[in-house]
């Protein structure tokens, strides 16, 4: 269909785009009907899309669309997807339009995609959301996160009172909703104030999961387990992200609250603590659901829904946070202790449940052992000794610990390699470096 370019050139921006969409629709229908496998949109067509719809800067200095024209285009796209009854055609068309090509058109592609999805949410265009869910599954997580950011900005911060609209996606397209949660939990990792989820979003997610714990697993349940999933894409489930949120939240919000107190602004917002508790509970419940599902699929013990690496990263983050909390402990130590304990409790619970439900695979002894040792040190270096809270006895790993090449915590050079003394109750200097 490269020959239509000449006819598109003299048109004005909007009608050219419209016409191209029309031709694209026909072209893809033909493609699907021809039954060629796999159906592939050729590069000429992709170039046309970039030139006339995305207006990528080319040698021809194309006038960009005005915002009004763009809105019209979006509207046309919405109805176009809505009216196309065949799912395969829709998917192919969406892919032709929005799959990233790694060229300079990607920026406008992302911008247009953001607007399209945002609009689809507003006017409830389910097909688009479904396509977007697929897109979220296949695309690099950086771009997924960007899309999530656009949506959160649009609905949670830009337009007040539009949260309910976003809330509707749960019923409109659970798949999209699940992917959205995954993207959002990847985006907001509590590393800075900007990367803390807005309260509205949090409330929304909690209510979604509370209403339907299966939501979290929808992508996992609906997609075939194959190696086709690119490694850079989002996790299959938002479980890892949610676990991270629940564990980090007490420490992070404590920090935020303190800052708010020093800033003197009294916050009328409802406490986030209960929300995270509820979320944690939901996560644990979802984890509890897993053994059955995995067994049904025959994947029990073969697929790790929680990645060991991400948990390791979480542990080190946690230790850093605890360290920080420890440094500020002189201000409100009781509070800090309680919150730190809460975080560690949640970690332990999540680990235990995950391991038990087969979401976390600890088959390889070395990695588990190392990870447990890290955990032990985390506990030891904390303000209180938590070892009795940890069900996994560190004693079990002591013979291997002696061979540990490097003590991960420099402040305790010799201690972890000889857990014997403190297990037998012999006195040893508590936090000798202090």
């Amino acid at each position: 269909m490269g020959d239509i370019r000449q006819s598109l050139l003299p048109r004005d921006v909007l009608s050219a785009a419209k016409e191209l969409l029309y031709h694209l629709d026909i072209y893809i229908c033909n493609l699907v009907q021809s039954g060629r496998q796999p159906p592939q949109v050729d590069s000429k067509t992709l170039e046309l899309v970039e030139e006339f719809i995305l207006h990528a800067p080319k040698d021809r200095n194309t006038p960009r669309m005005s915002a009004l024209q763009e809105l019209q285009l979006l509207e046309i796209m919405c109805s176009c997807f809505q009216e196309q009854s065949r799912d395969a055609v829709r998917q192919l068309m969406f892919a032709a339009l929005f799959n990233l090509q790694g060229n300079q058109a990607d920026e406008s592609r992302m911008a247009l995609l953001g607007k399209l999805v945002s609009m689809a949410i507003a006017v409830g265009r389910v097909p688009i959301l479904e396509c977007a869910a697929t897109w979220l599954q296949r695309t690099h997580r950086v771009y997924c996160v960007r899309l999530a950011q656009v949506l959160v900005d649009d609905y949670c911060s830009m337009v007040p009172g539009s949260v309910p609209t976003l809330q509707n996606i749960h019923s409109a397209s659970p798949r999209f909703c699940c992917q959205f949660i995954t993207a959002v939990t990847t985006l907001y990792d509590f590393t800075s104030e900007e990367l803390t989820p807005p309260l509205e979003l949090l409330q929304m997610i909690v209510s979604w999961i509370q209403d339907d714990p299966h939501l979290v697993l929808i992508t996992f349940l609906n997609s075939p387990i194959s190696g086709s999933q690119p490694i850079t894409s989002l996790d299959v489930t938002p479980l890892g992200g949610l676990v991270r949120w629940c564990i980090k939240a007490p420490l992070v919000y404590r920090r935020d609250k303190k800052q708010a107190l020093t800033n003197g602004s009294s916050e009328n917002e409802p406490e986030v603590g209960p929300l995270f508790s509820a979320l944690h509970l939901s996560v644990l419940q979802v984890l509890m659901l897993l053994p059955n599902i995995l067994n049904e699929k025959g994947l029990f013990g073969r697929l790790a829904l929680l990645q060991m690496e991400s948990l390791a990263a979480l542990t080190s983050d946690l230790s850093r946070l605890l360290d920080q909390a420890d440094k500020h402990t002189h201000t409100s130590s009781a509070d800090t202790l309680a919150l730190s304990q809460l975080a560690l409790d949640r970690l332990a619970q999540a680990l235990q449940v995950a391991m038990a439900s087969g979401a976390l695979l600890c088959s390889r002894g070395n990695s588990v052992e190392k990870w447990c040792r890290d955990l032990l040190q985390l506990v030891l270096s904390g303000p209180v000794m938590y070892y009795n809270n940890i069900h996994t006895s560190p004693l079990a790993y002591s013979p291997h610990a002696a061979h540990s090449p490097i003590a991960p915590h420099p402040t305790l050079p010799a201690l972890p390699t000889h857990p014997q003394p403190f297990m037998t109750g012999m006195p040893f200097p508590f936090r000798p470096s202090h």
Binding site: E70, L71, A122, V123, M158, V159, S162
Partner: protein, 1004 residues
């Protein structure tokens, strides 16, 4: 900018809308809504939407569909534009009929505003950047689109423009929305906001100014600093590329768009916030220098202070800014100079060291350009530069401690470049050729160089500093003076020269003046005469203090004296200059002469030095000459008096002596100038010597006109005699000869002699000296060849003969003073008996001689100028008559018993002999007087009388003898002398025992 925005209606709307219950639209409804919005047609009813409904629809979408944001805002532009059009149309037609339309739109605009402001309030981070960009862009678009409308005032009248736009609801709403955004964004990213403002300002330059002005005056502090920060960032990013083009680019505002608008905006704000702008500029400078300034808590992470690159660019940026806006630069420069203390300079050096050499050179050029263009503070800047660049010295310790060597060298270089630059400017200025093209824009019209313009008023100071002769410094200053003089033209040059002449205190310093003149003489003619004329004007207006005056006169004198030295080893240029000085001074001699009588001895001394060495003018009006001579003579007596006083006090003796010498020199030169001056000088010298104010100088007593010393009123007792009474009693017919009339002179009959006042005589040696000086002057004057041009004999040992005419002047003056009532004609003598008729006058004459010892020497001088003594014949006769009377009446044993009379007789006779009124035989008789009795003296004097009576003292009897160079009298043509000699011989006989040794003197 005085328009205060009253946003109350909008605010009211806003608050009412905040809590309107949001009717959540279903997805279908939203879809319909979007369709309606896009098509402009109500999809349900199928009719076209009005502007108002369309706008409402847009607002609804804005509230519910985030993705429509851009489109809605774009649509709203049209709504705003429509309203502005309607508004302006309304104004143009001035009809109230169509107000309905505008008010309709006005309420929708208020709704839009309410929504936007609610959004901004609720989530400033998301909305403020969006809305601010939109609002600013729309404002720019609206204001430039409607700038051409009939009602729109011209873009230069900012206040009217502001008034118009702020009365329009649409623009007012936009403005308020932008203000709200700005207020919200200031906390976290003010740069973006101001960036948008700047961009728009560039785009819609003159029409958008009102917005910038309004915003700027609403947020002066932030806008100023932000505008500058933005400009700096932009400069830094652009400047890296085309620094070379920028740096000297006074005329390239377009090259960096933002810096142009930065200048424009700051220029606007300068009207009301110049102080904060100045502070901000200085702050930026200081901040950029602080290498270790920790991030202050207030400065955000985006602030320029944190970036070393930006910090390094700050100084060039500020320079650039200054170059583009003299308004901004002017007030800052002064404080900047104050700031540049040594530590700051070191920091500056440290910062600038990092820049590449080429850039540094450019900066240097820019600085030079700035200095040369700065209209104020130039003197301070220059002094600072000179101070800093002056090498540290043990001898000279300046006010500031010596800076680091590198800094010093930098300043040195800067200074030299500045001078070079000024040199180019100054010398290109006068001819039309432009060498340096990029100065053309600034210096084309009048080629004014503000730096020099300002310094013109500091010429005096500069001269003073130059004269301090501090190492390199005075070279710079001197160079600057030269440039300044060339720039300012003759008036400045003259002033500079004048100042140097007035302030120089020694030959080295004075040499600077001549150097200046040498430099300037090539391009300026008549500088020295102008300078002298100016000095004279200053003298007349008494603007110079005595010290300066004195210095000026001394300097001029030194200059002229150097001419005399030059004459021996003449060099071209300077001697010509010295000649000019001489001629200029001589042209103003009469202006200097009043200074001779200046109250300050130093001044008058300086004046006499100048006058004594300056050449005399070719032509001069008699009045001036007379004035000059009077002044000179008066000064002469003054110096004599001062010398006396000084001698007593034991100080200034040397100076007084020198003054006398100068005065003598002046008088003699002046007398030699013309017959008129000779006559006048001599007359006044004689008159002055006899004047009662001066008599004491020459051992005389103060005498009234009758010749008698005047008793001081307190001393003289009232004798109760009144001439009036006497006259009344006797009537007018009485013959008064030898009556009481004459007795009054000695006292009233019956009351005894009048009491003689005892005046304190000055030191005799001093008197003698004074008399000597006076005589020397008179002799010098008389012997100079002024009158008849006869040259003095070639023999240098022999003093030149007294000029006869000059002597005659002295003689006549003398007679007039001693005895005013004698007619000049009666030269011949009557018989001795007739002397009785003139006894009154004779007594007067005798008293004169008594009172003024100086008269005899004067007579001697007259006698030496040979026929001249004839004109004194009346005085001689009177004196001789009284002497005869004295000796006749004398009952003393020897003539030596009345010493004054003896001396007077001797002197009189010798004078007459010298004057060839008596032949040698008779003239010698005075040698015998001391050995004789009074009677014999009388006999001899009678013989003298008889001779003179027989052979009248007539000038005609004298003949000029060319071999002697003087007049001589041939006594052989007169009658036989022998018959007059008889009494002499008798007396000789009588006293042969004592007078034997004198006999040969009386041989015929």
């Amino acid at each position: 900018m005085s328009v205060v925005f009253d946003g109350s209606p909008l605010k009211a709307m806003q608050s009412s809308h905040t809590h309107t219950p949001q009717t959540a639209l279903s997805t279908q409804e939203l879809s319909q809504e979007i369709k309606s919005f896009i098509s402009g047609v109500d999809t349900v009813q199928g009719r076209k939407l009005s502007v108002r409904e369309h706008a409402r629809c847009a607002v609804r979408l804005l509230r519910s569909v985030p993705a429509c944001r851009g489109a809605v805002l774009e649509h709203l532009r049209g709504v705003y534009d429509e309203h502005v059009s309607a508004f302006l149309h309304n104004l143009e037609t001035e009809s109230n009929a169509s107000t309905g339309v505008s008010s309709n739109l006005e309420d929708i605009i208020q709704e839009i505003h309410a929504v936007l402001s609610e959004f901004i309030r609720l989530n400033p981070r998301a909305w403020a950047p969006l809305v601010s960009t939109w609002a600013v862009d729309l404002l720019g678009q609206l204001s430039s689109k409607h700038a051409g409308r009939r009602v729109a005032p011209h873009s230069s009248s900012l206040n009217e423009l502001l008034q118009l736009w702020m009365s329009c609801a649409a623009t007012r709403s936009l403005m308020e929305a932008y203000s709200q955004c700005l207020a919200a964004m200031l906390a976290w990213c003010p740069d973006a906001c101001v960036d948008a403002l700047l961009d728009t300002s560039v785009q819609h330059s003159p029409h958008f100014d009102w917005v910038v002005a309004h915003i700027g005056s609403a947020f002066p502090g932030t806008i100023i600093s932000r505008v500058m920060a933005c400009g700096l960032k932009d400069f830094c990013s652009h400047g890296a590329k085309d620094q070379g083009l920028l740096v000297m680019g006074v005329d390239k505002g377009s090259r960096v768009p933002k810096i142009g608008s930065v200048v424009g905006i700051l220029g606007h704000l300068a009207a009301h916030h110049s102080d904060s702008i100045r502070k901000e500029l200085l702050r930026m400078f200081q901040e950029s220098l602080n290498p270790s300034s920790p991030l202050s808590p207030t400065s955000s992470s985006t602030s320029w202070e944190s970036s070393p690159q930006l910090r390094r660019a700050a100084v060039p940026f500020l320079l650039q800014l200054a170059a583009m806006s003299p308004n901004l630069f002017g007030p800052v420069s002064a404080e900047l100079v104050e700031l540049l203390r040594p530590p700051v300079l070191l920091q500056l050096q440290a910062v600038l060291q990092g820049l590449p050499r080429e850039e540094l050179d450019n900066m240097l050029g820019l600085v030079v350009h700035l200095i040369s263009q700065s209209p104020s503070g130039g003197a301070r800047v220059f002094r600072f530069l000179a101070d800093t660049a002056t090498p540290a010295s043990v001898i000279i310790s300046g006010p500031t401690p010596s800076p680091h060597e590198g800094v010093r060298e930098g300043c040195d270089r800067l200074l030299q470049m500045l001078l070079l630059h000024l040199h180019k400017l100054v010398f290109n200025r006068t001819d039309g050729v432009e060498v340096n093209p990029h100065h053309s824009a600034s210096s084309q019209p009048q080629r004014v160089i503000p730096f020099l313009e300002e310094l013109q008023s500091h010429v005096g100071q500069l001269c003073a500093e130059t004269l301090r002769l501090e190492r390199k410094r005075h070279l710079w200053l001197h160079q600057l003076l030269c440039l300044l003089s060339v720039y300012g033209g003759p008036s400045t040059a003259t002033e500079a020269l004048c100042q140097l002449l007035t302030q120089a205190r020694n030959p080295e310093e004075l040499a600077l003046a001549w150097q200046l003149h040498t430099t300037l003489s090539s391009c300026m003619a008549g500088l020295i005469p102008a300078a002298i004329a100016r000095s004279v004007a200053q003298i007349h207006t008494h603007t110079l203090g005595p010290r300066q005056l004195r210095q000026l006169l001394l300097n001029l004198a030194a200059a002229i004296q150097s001419q005399d030295e030059e004459r021996r080893g003449a060099t071209g240029a300077q001697s010509s200059m010295v000649v000019q000085v001489g001629s200029a001074v001589s042209g103003h001699l009469h202006d200097f002469c009043p200074l001779l009588l200046h109250g300050d001895p130093a001044v008058s001394h300086a004046a006499v030095r100048l006058l004594s060495c300056s050449p005399l003018p070719r032509t001069c009006s008699p009045a001036q000459l007379l004035q000059l001579s009077r002044a000179a003579v008066t000064h002469f007596f003054l110096t004599l008096r001062r010398r006396g006083e000084g001698g007593k006090a034991g100080r200034d003796g040397g100076q007084a002596g020198e003054a006398v010498n100068c005065s003598v020199l002046l008088l003699s030169r002046f007398a030699a100038y013309s017959p008129l001056t000779l006559k006048s000088v001599l007359q006044q010298l004689v008159e002055g010597a006899l004047h009662k104010g001066n008599t004491d100088l020459f051992g005389g007593q103060i005498a009234d006109m009758s010749g008698a010393p005047v008793p001081s009123p307190s001393v003289s007792p009232d004798v109760g005699a009144s001439l009036l009474d006497v006259n009344c009693r006797f009537g007018t017919t009485v013959n008064f000869s030898s009556s009481v009339w004459s007795v009054f002179h000695a006292g009233v009959i019956g009351k005894g002699l009048k009491a003689r006042t005892i005046t304190q005589l000055p030191d005799p040696s001093l008197v003698i000296q004074n008399i000597q000086i006076l005589l020397a002057v008179i002799v010098k004057c008389c012997s100079s060849s002024g009158l008849n041009g006869s040259r003095s004999p070639s023999d240098p040992d022999e003093p030149p003969p007294i000029n006869a005419e000059a002597a005659k002047v002295v003689a006549v003056t003398l007679v007039e003073n001693v005895c005013p009532d004698v007619a000049n004609s009666e030269l011949s003598w009557p018989p001795e008996e007739h002397a009785r008729t003139t006894v009154e006058r004779d007594i007067h004459i005798r008293r004169c001689f008594e009172a003024h010892p100086v008269l005899f020497p004067l007579l001697q001088v007259v006698a030496a100028g040979r026929p001249a003594l004839c004109y004194c014949s009346a005085v001689l006769r009177g004196l001789l008559a009284t002497l005869l009377a004295h000796w006749e009446a004398s009952r003393e044993a020897a003539s030596t018993d009345s010493p004054w009379h003896l001396q007077a007789s001797c002197l009189l006779v010798s004078c007459m002999g010298e004057g060839q009124i008596l032949p040698p035989v008779l003239a010698n008789v005075h040698e015998a007087f001391p050995h004789l009795t009074p009677f014999e003296v009388r006999l001899l004097l009678l013989a003298v009388w008889e001779y003179v009576r027989g052979n009248g003292p007539m000038p005609q009897k004298f003949v000029f003898s060319s071999e002697k160079g003087m007049f001589c009298r041939d006594f052989s043509r007169d009658g036989d002398v022998a018959r007059y000699v008889a009494p002499i011989h008798s007396v000789l006989h009588k006293n042969i025992d004592r007078l034997g040794h004198l006999c040969w003197r009386f041989q015929l």
